[in-house]
Point group: C2
Chain length 691, copies 2
């Protein structure tokens, strides 16, 4: 693979040229056009990252302004300063030649995107660092490319948000969807209604100065900040300080558990709208983006149905059910937002013909159909279904999820070109019921980068080949930005092991992944915001690469056995077969012995007790795998064999036992071992040594 193949997201066109632009301490950046603060700050960060990676101390650590010397190494021009708003021009052209690189864009947003591209092109040989010559033109496919971070379930301090904004910028995401309020916490300071954060956050909230700091930080990186205030459900934290907003009588208690709660704001009282009008006036001034997200999801309607005042209100207004009442509530909300010159985003539950299509954006989380349905009704929409990173699916799963490709089983080309235009893009989402500031980066990166490419690059470019390798390279670059997705893994293993060396634990956990979808919540119904997130499941990789590598090894080995036996095996083939067999045997031997090394650690580490039987199960199936390999070797040597069918029964049972999750982690290497042993067992039974 060439360096161009690693670009992520892939640009629209990449035309390699001969030669390279060498980088020396004399490297200078010159600015033309209308640079402004985003370009200047962006170039300063670019130079710092370039210095950090190359080790060079640049003579000019700041960009030059016009008139530029001819010797300028990198000329950057933008015609105007962009408006940080939906649909703003983010396109750029990058031409790198042996003497100069030129980055041209309509706006400074395009400049920022291009700077990330050129940084990904940085490479080196023994003569030093260089950018390869190339011509690139690029622009995003979708204008709304977001990441939701839930700061309510587990508060995520400012530095977590900042480093993830850097990560987003690195892969050209452009919307931070900041989920600021939910049952478990009201995370933004309100000066108008201070009991919101005082009573609703247990001290963990963003001050307005911090909010402004984050918005400014995001702006400098070309990222919009869309705040979400989830209404009318998910509001347990609101009613602690303002019980008059509630649909049910108090006393109200801080919500520390998870799942859908009953709390709903009272839509039947005019005072609720007075409150929300004043609240949104304050927030509209604090958050400059044109869009405000009002949530709208998971309203179970119970408190509304149980409240006679609300029932009377529904009858009086001819509202037949709670969905109609929520639509009424949303229309009132929309009126408030419209007066504040804001547009509304909401989860797909709010979809209803009674809302105007011009000012409402639907965020589809329950299915892609909801997005398409919205488009057919004339609503603009963004896709989050299939992009929930907290569900622990592999990068490839998210990557193949295209907002405009028909969902499985649905007829193709369902949307007209006009309807397709209404699909603005999508958002990766990180819900934090089981995510702490320590673990969030590893659950976001590098998988969010796969979604970023899906939303930026032409769909024909989004081919899954080499995705893992490309993500691995991006992952390295993300680390430079302070993201902890790689480095917190051994740290968490060290805490689990206390003073013991982590290697035996790592050998096991390298093969484990957290259970997927909502399985952890189902298995841990009593979890609260105080439940420790320092367990094996929290440390375990989202994608266990070691298990995947072993599976590839097994398949390569088994494929060597499928070669036509009538063709005389070449030495090479035989050699490959032999060396793969040995590699597999060595790996199984390590796993077989590992439990003995891990057991004393488990004994002294309470956090490991829950995976003791998982460790034993790995040892057992690896041992049985070795037994099969030994039988196979015997057969290959034409030694007499006795194949005991009960042995295979044991094996099946051991595999089934090993596949069972413990402590919400599963041993994802089991299918690879199963494929190996089951295939060999069949061959043994069919083979020449069978007695």
């Amino acid at each position: 693979m060439k360096v161009f193949d690693y670009l992520l997201p892939k640009p629209v066109t990449v035309i390699p040229q001969p030669g390279a632009l060498r980088i020396t301490p004399a490297f200078t950046v010159g600015l033309k056009g209308a640079p402004g603060k985003r370009t200047c700050a962006g170039v300063s960060r670019f130079l710092a990252r370039l210095a950090g990676r190359t080790g060079l101390s640049f003579l000019n650590h700041k960009p030059l302004h016009e008139p530029l010397p001819e010797t300028c190494s990198f000329v950057i021009s933008n015609r105007r300063q962009g408006k940080l708003a939906l649909g703003e021009d983010e396109s750029y052209r990058l031409e790198i030649g042996p003497k100069q690189a030129v980055l041209q864009a309509e706006t400074d947003l395009g400049v920022l995107r291009g700077l990330e591209t050129i940084l990904q092109l940085l490479t080196a040989d023994q003569d030093g660092p260089f950018f390869p010559a190339v011509r690139i033109t690029d622009q995003p496919r979708f204008p709304w490319r977001g990441l939701l971070i839930d700061c309510a379930r587990h508060f995520q301090p400012v530095e977590v948000i900042k480093r993830n904004l850097d990560g987003m910028a690195a892969v050209k995401l452009n919307v931070l969807h900041w989920h600021l309020t939910d049952d478990q916490g009201f995370r933004v300071e309100s000066k108008v209604f201070p009991r919101l954060h005082q009573e609703g956050a247990a001290g963990a909230y963003y001050t307005q100065e911090q909010i402004r700091e984050v918005i400014n930080y995001a702006d400098l990186r070309g990222i919009r900040v869309v705040p979400e205030f989830d209404l009318p459900g998910h509001t347990s934290s609101w009613v602690l300080g303002y019980p008059e907003l509630a649909s049910a009588p108090g006393p109200h208690h801080p919500e520390i558990g998870f799942g859908v709660k009953d709390t709903l704001l009272n839509p039947a009282r005019e005072e609720t709208y007075t409150f929300l009008a004043a609240f949104f006036q304050e927030m509209a001034a604090l958050f400059p983006d044109e869009y405000i997200h009002i949530g709208g999801d998971e309203n179970n309607g119970r408190q509304w149905l149980a409240n006679p005042e609300i029932q009377a209100f529904m009858r009086a207004h001819g509202l037949p059910d709670t969905h109609a009442l929520q639509t009424y509530f949303n229309r009132r909300l929309l009126a408030i937002l419209t007066r504040l010159q804001k547009k509304m985003v909401g989860w797909d539950e709010i979809l209803a013909a009674a809302l105007p299509t011009s000012t409402v954006v639907i965020q589809a989380w329950r299915s892609k159909e909801r997005l398409w349905q919205a488009a057919k009704m004339g609503y603009r929409g963004i896709l989050s279904h299939g992009y929930y990173l907290d569900l622990m699916q592999p990068a490839a799963f998210h990557y193949q999820n295209d907002p405009l490709a028909p969902a499985e089983g649905a007829p193709a080309d369902e949307l007209t070109p006009e309807q397709q235009q209404l699909v603005l893009g999508g958002e990766a989402a990180m819900w934090t019921e089981f995510i702490s500031p320590e673990t969030i980066d590893a659950r976001l990166w590098p998988r969010a980068a796969a979604i970023a490419e899906r939303l930026w690059s032409p769909p024909a470019h989004c081919t899954p080949e080499h995705l893992d390798r490309r993500l691995a390279r991006v992952s390295l670059h993300l680390e430079e930005l302070g993201l902890t997705h790689e480095k917190n893994y051994p740290m968490m293993l060290r805490r689990l092991c206390g003073q013991w060396a982590i290697e035996p634990l790592q050998t096991l956990v390298d093969l484990c992944e957290p259970v997927k979808n909502y399985e952890r919540a189902i298995q841990c119904p009593d979890a609260t915001i105080y439940s420790p997130l320092t367990r094996v499941v929290d440390a375990a990789p989202t994608e266990a690469k070691a298990a995947r590598r072993f599976h590839q090894l097994v398949r390569r080995y088994l494929s060597t056995l499928e070669q036509d036996p009538t063709v005389e095996a070449s030495n090479t083939q035989a050699g490959e077969n032999e060396s793969l067999w040995r590699e597999i045997k060595a790996q199984l031997t390590v796993w077989h012995k590992n439990h003995t090394a891990l057991e004393p650690i488990i004994k002294s580490a309470p956090l490991l007790h829950e995976i003791r039987s998982l460790s034993a199960a790995l040892a057992r199936i690896a041992g049985l795998g070795l037994d099969i390999l030994a039988l196979w070797a015997k057969q290959q040597n034409n030694e007499p064999l006795t194949l005991d069918p009960t042995f295979f029964q044991q094996l099946k049972q051991a595999l089934a036992a090993a596949a069972k999750p413990r402590g919400q982690v599963e041993l994802v290497v089991v299918p690879a071992i199963a494929e190996l042993v089951e295939t060999l067992w069949q061959k043994l039974n069919a083979g020449p040594g069978r007695n």
Copy 2:
């Protein structure tokens, strides 16, 4: 070693008792006396850390208040809320029995100290986690136990300060000396003189809200915050916005280099004092501590001597030299601070009989003698000489440095008991010319913990045995607090290697340390605040444990050779000798081969070019070491030997070449290899196989 032996800093008395207090989800903390916010927040953090380490979800995630149930697992009482001020009571008593633990303290500061002690006692067996029964009484030896962090040379964001405050609290340090202004940056927002931070910080400063946030964070951890505004030198950043303060005409430029600069405030203009009075009035309100540090160091006097106005002023006031002028300046400063009810701390240059002893504290950085001299003159003082962590000395070096023990060569018992009382303690210092937010933790921890013990524990307890093992355990606990001292090492190696596996680089860098004392500044005179801090020298461990372990191995092996040959070697002895020999050979073999693995990585990684010859040198001396081992084995087998004296010359040359630093790192394993090969060479030449 028992868990009690790991306590750091060591308490005054520790009396182990039989039994243990088991920790279960029912574990409850109850508060008695006058808990207040420090105790409550401290207990919440304690419970979160206890949950994090044990994996338990406590039924009570908050402390109970009086009346307490009898079943309370851990009863904490403090008689009053402490004043966060010099000399406040920090003592505590901790009694752990099988049914209950009791922590008693006069103040909540004592409670915080005791909570750190009990967390260090947490241990576990296969029945789960527990605290061993014990009786501990404890109090600090010195009331001033500080850490200086220089945020001027390289700005350290709020989260860096916060996580290090957590680290300080964990080892009972109680003063953050916040070096906020220097030539390279003015890092605090001034609303009275906004051009100070606007012109003097290149955007990198703390807002007043952030300052308050840090002070509150420190207060909750029982840590005073003493700000330093370094005057009259180290002020290049002040005069950018306010050139009228300068002693020399402008134009003034941002200072990006290091070393002692000429800029001095003008002490001859009354307006300077008017400015400083208004400035300190603002800062005195911002920083609640009784002490303000006014710097006072490294005034080279040049600008004063070159300024006729200042010269005239000195003559008019009978000030014979620049030191007298600085004392005049300091007296004026002191008057300003005194009006603001603040006391003054200054570097030992300010020591002069003309300052009152009651309101001035001397910080000795140039020598311990300066501290003692101050004490003899009646000044209170704190020691920083010997505690500069940026000079890359080992923990043991700092640990042996006692403020009250005579300096080397000085007569014992020089200070009277009254003078000893004037020694308030000391401060570790982290100057950041070559330290980034990414590297600071690794340069602070765990070495700062050794200084913390020196300043807290009775001197008789400060014995160097097991210091490394004790620091290693503390280091694990420090990681829980978010400190990056361990986890950033592999991350930095990954950046250095790009997409290559880091193992060969780590094999080399594990044996390297940065050059010590001021050697890096001397070797890099052109370094600026923009010079990348991503090099091998920045990643290299402060104490290369792998090199130390190898040296111990070599010494153990060589000592087996010294056993009396007339006594018949037991099998055990022979076996030990053989296994050590093999271990050494295996290690040298790894090092000998490492360069071959590392060379292709170096070729493609410009940042590694500077250590190419270091890598080659390691391979070479390891190879020669293997040659000597082979000769030695021959001699042991009584095979004929030819010892070529030029071989030893080559060896000496190779060792000398390998000992030479490259890229400001040195291969600290060289002395161990030298000791091995030189000893064996001598024995070969004296031995029976000599031909």
